[in-house]
């Protein structure tokens, strides 16, 4: 199948715009060539024609096809590429459309697989209907069903019908409430803005310095700087708020058979699916403010790259903020778990945290003093101000200890960390990749250790696995051994489940299933099957388990 024909002029325009922007940039630096409107127009038309030619060739070369077990893509104008992606390897299928694409009815479809640092396949661009159809069909193929045959030119009505049917068997897990969206905005702070501002200011110091009355009493200078700083913070906050609201507008999370599906975005609309068996960990984050107001943040971590992670937005399936009980319920829906009772690190460790915080504050104060001395302002400025924070350190140390802990559940390891922003992480035992126990030279002095249950890599900052930090070193060794052991038994159990499920499916339909189950080895597809078999709401499952018992007798 081909990309949308509309994509050709759109892509050509996109390329031309980028070219023109760089051209204007180069011209503004000054290259000696006189650049007026006629030259500019010539460049614009020329580059548009060139890119149009390329895009036509790209369009003609680009072909994709859904076969029974792979998605095949043939592409490339100068370098040809043929790629086959087995459905079982697909992690996420993401659709995004920005405001222009929505105007002309185009969508970008990205297919992510595990492990890679980049998108495995990107269809730029298909029609919105086609994108939805592909997302649905890939999901069906993954489940091992063959979707109803679509004629090459599936009519709009067909696709609509399909979509409705798909929505029908979706169960809404979470939909952001307007109040939650507003809160998400209020609580967002974009740290990139102060960075950009500082860069801007240091660049413009020569222009600004005459404005600042350095001969005025130092306290006024200090105040002025403080005002500037505060303005920067407010700006960062406003930018953060707007981008959070734009990003999470209309966020909803639904569940259909074996998959999570999310939708979000105001200007750029994202939607995607995450198979349950690709979920690596669930992280719930809160801080004292959120706790007081009864809110929390939830992030679903998957292996591999998810779009949007690179710009620090975190996983796509993140609930930016939701009332605590809704977030807990959601976490429970995704992976049901008992209420954890945390094992805390030994109490003596609080002293270590206290010393650490005091050292940090001393360092900060020292730096400030040194900085002010350089400018000869040390006598006039209250450089000792940060030292006041030392009063809060015992409390911070206590809370750091209080929030730390790990808990071994039936199927999950749950860990919790952080004195201000408290992060609770759930990792299923069968998801653990490696177990790492570390003791730094300082930890050895306090005879404590850190145990990390590492899960399959994701590029997010949070994707470092669950860590039980600063637990007693004997506990740590025990925990390390227990985790390895539980991983082994959990895997053995799953394998038994799977063998049982494939065993009775063979009885069901011998020839088809056999080829299926061999084709599915090494990926999560068979997990889907066991998942299906466990739910007993559909009549066919009941039949199957009957078959199972009879075949076993």
């Amino acid at each position: 199948m081909k990309l949308a024909l509309k994509a050709v002029p759109y892509r050509a325009l996109q390329k031309t715009t980028t070219l023109l922007i760089s051209a204007v940039f180069i011209a503004s630096i000054g290259v000696g060539v006189p650049v007026g409107p006629p030259q500019f127009l010539a460049v614009a038309v020329g580059s548009f024609l060139l890119s149009l030619g390329y895009e036509v060739a790209y369009y003609r070369r680009f072909e994709y096809e859904l076969t029974d077990d792979t998605l095949d893509i043939r592409s490339g104008v100068f370098n040809r590429r043929e790629r086959e992606i087995p459905y079982g390897r697909v992690q996420n299928v993401d659709i995004s459309r920005n405001i222009f694409q929505r105007l002309v009815g185009l969508s970008k479809l990205d297919i992510e697989t595990a492990g890679g640092g980049s998108t495995e396949a990107s269809l730029k661009y298909v029609t919105a209907f086609e994108a939805n159809r592909l997302q649905l069909d890939i999901r069906r193929y993954k489940r091992g069903e063959s979707p109803e045959s679509h004629a090459e030119g599936a009519t709009v009505a067909d696709t609509d019908l399909d979509r409705d049917r798909a929505v029908d068997d979706e169960e809404l897990l979470f939909e952001i409430a307007p109040s939650e969206l507003a809160l998400a905005g209020i609580l967002s702070f974009d740290p990139r803005v102060p960075g950009a501002l500082i860069a801007l200011f240091t660049g413009s110091v020569p222009f600004i310095s005459p404005i600042i009355p350095f001969d005025a009493p130092p306290l006024i200078v200090f105040g002025l700087l403080a005002v500037l700083f505060a303005a920067g913070l407010v700006l960062a906050w406003i930018v953060g708020a707007i981008s959070a609201i734009v990003n999470y507008w209309g966020f909803r999370l639904t569940r259909s058979e074996g998959e999570l599906r999310y939708e979000r975005g105001l200007l750029q609309r994202y939607s995607g699916t995450i198979p349950f068996d690709k979920i690596q960990a669930i992280t719930i984050t809160d801080n004292p403010l959120k706790r007081r107001a009864g809110y929390a943040t939830l992030v679903v971590e998957t292996a591999g790259y998810a779009p949007g992670q690179t710009d620090g937005r975190g996983s796509e399936a993140a609930v930016p903020i939701g009332s605590r009980d809704r977030v807990d319920r959601l976490a429970d829906e995704i992976s049901s778990i008992e209420k954890p009772t945390f094992n805390r690190p030994p109490k003596r460790i609080r002293r270590r945290y206290l010393v650490r915080y005091l050292l940090a504050i001393a360092g900060m104060t020292g730096l400030l003093y040194a900085g002010l001395t350089v400018f000869d302002l040390a006598d006039a400025m209250p450089w000792y101000l940060p030292a006041v924070a030392a009063l809060g350190t015992p409390l911070a140390a206590h809370y750091k200890w209080l929030h730390r802990g790990y808990w071994l559940g039936e199927d999950h390891l749950v860990t919790r960390n952080g004195f201000w922003s408290r992060e609770t992480k759930q990792v299923a035992y069968y998801r653990i990749q490696t177990v790492i126990e570390t003791r730094t030279i300082f930890q050895r002095r306090w005879s404590v250790a850190t145990v990390i249950a590492d899960t399959a890599g994701s590029l997010s900052i949070l994707g470092t696995g669950a860590a039980a930090v600063d637990i007693d070193h004997q506990d740590a060794t025990r925990l390390r051994e227990t985790l390895t052991e539980r991983l082994r038994t959990a895997l053995a159990e799953r394998r038994r489940d799977r063998q049982r499920s494939t065993a009775f499916e063979w009885v069901d339909t011998k020839d088809e299933e056999r080829s299926d189950s061999t084709g599915a080895s090494g990926n999560g597809q068979d997990v889907d099957q066991s998942h299906t078999n466990r739910s007993d709401d559909s009549p066919s499952d009941v039949d199957r388990s009957d078959d199972d018992s009879s075949s076993r007798k």
């Binding site: 595990a114 492990g115 690709k278 292996a303 069968y430 653990i432 990749q433 490696t434 177990v435 790492i436 126990e437 570390t438 003791r439 730094t440 030279i441 050895r444 990390i452 590492d454 899960t455 399959a456 890599g457 994701s458 994707g463 470092t464 696995g465 060794t477 390390r480 985790l483 390895t484 991983l487 082994r488 895997l491 799953r494 394998r495 080895s521 090494g522 999560g524 068979d526």
Partner: protein
Amino acid sequence: MNDLHPRIRVIWILRAVVVAVVVGAVGVGMATFFDVSPLPPVGFAVLLVIVGVIHAILRYRNWAYVVRADAIYLERGVFTEIRTEVPLVRIQHVDSRRSAFERLVGLASTVVYTAGSRGADVTIPGLTPGEADALRKRLKGLVIESDGEDAV
């Protein structure tokens, strides 16, 4: 628990010496350029070598690994002691490799890859080439046996 081959210390010390020589050369170069005494950088380089030698000896002493029925277990680290359990089911693939230094002293290492985010590749250095190959083959056999269906 298996120790590494004692000659691995030679590699680690050689590496430390290379770093020290580079640092020392840069330091001496800068000292001559700014026309100050070249003694401090030379002293610093010597110090680096001494620290490197002690570090290599301690590192060798702390390194140990064992291949159990279901996992590889490694202990290592001088300042931070690290103990890693790599379940065999999680192994994606195994390499045995020989760097230039390793070839010089006739050693090899085996690298075990998992899909993890921080323990993604675990290197067992200081094996004789025969040992490294044998370890790779043994791990391959064990991995196939333990049925790595759930590698991710």
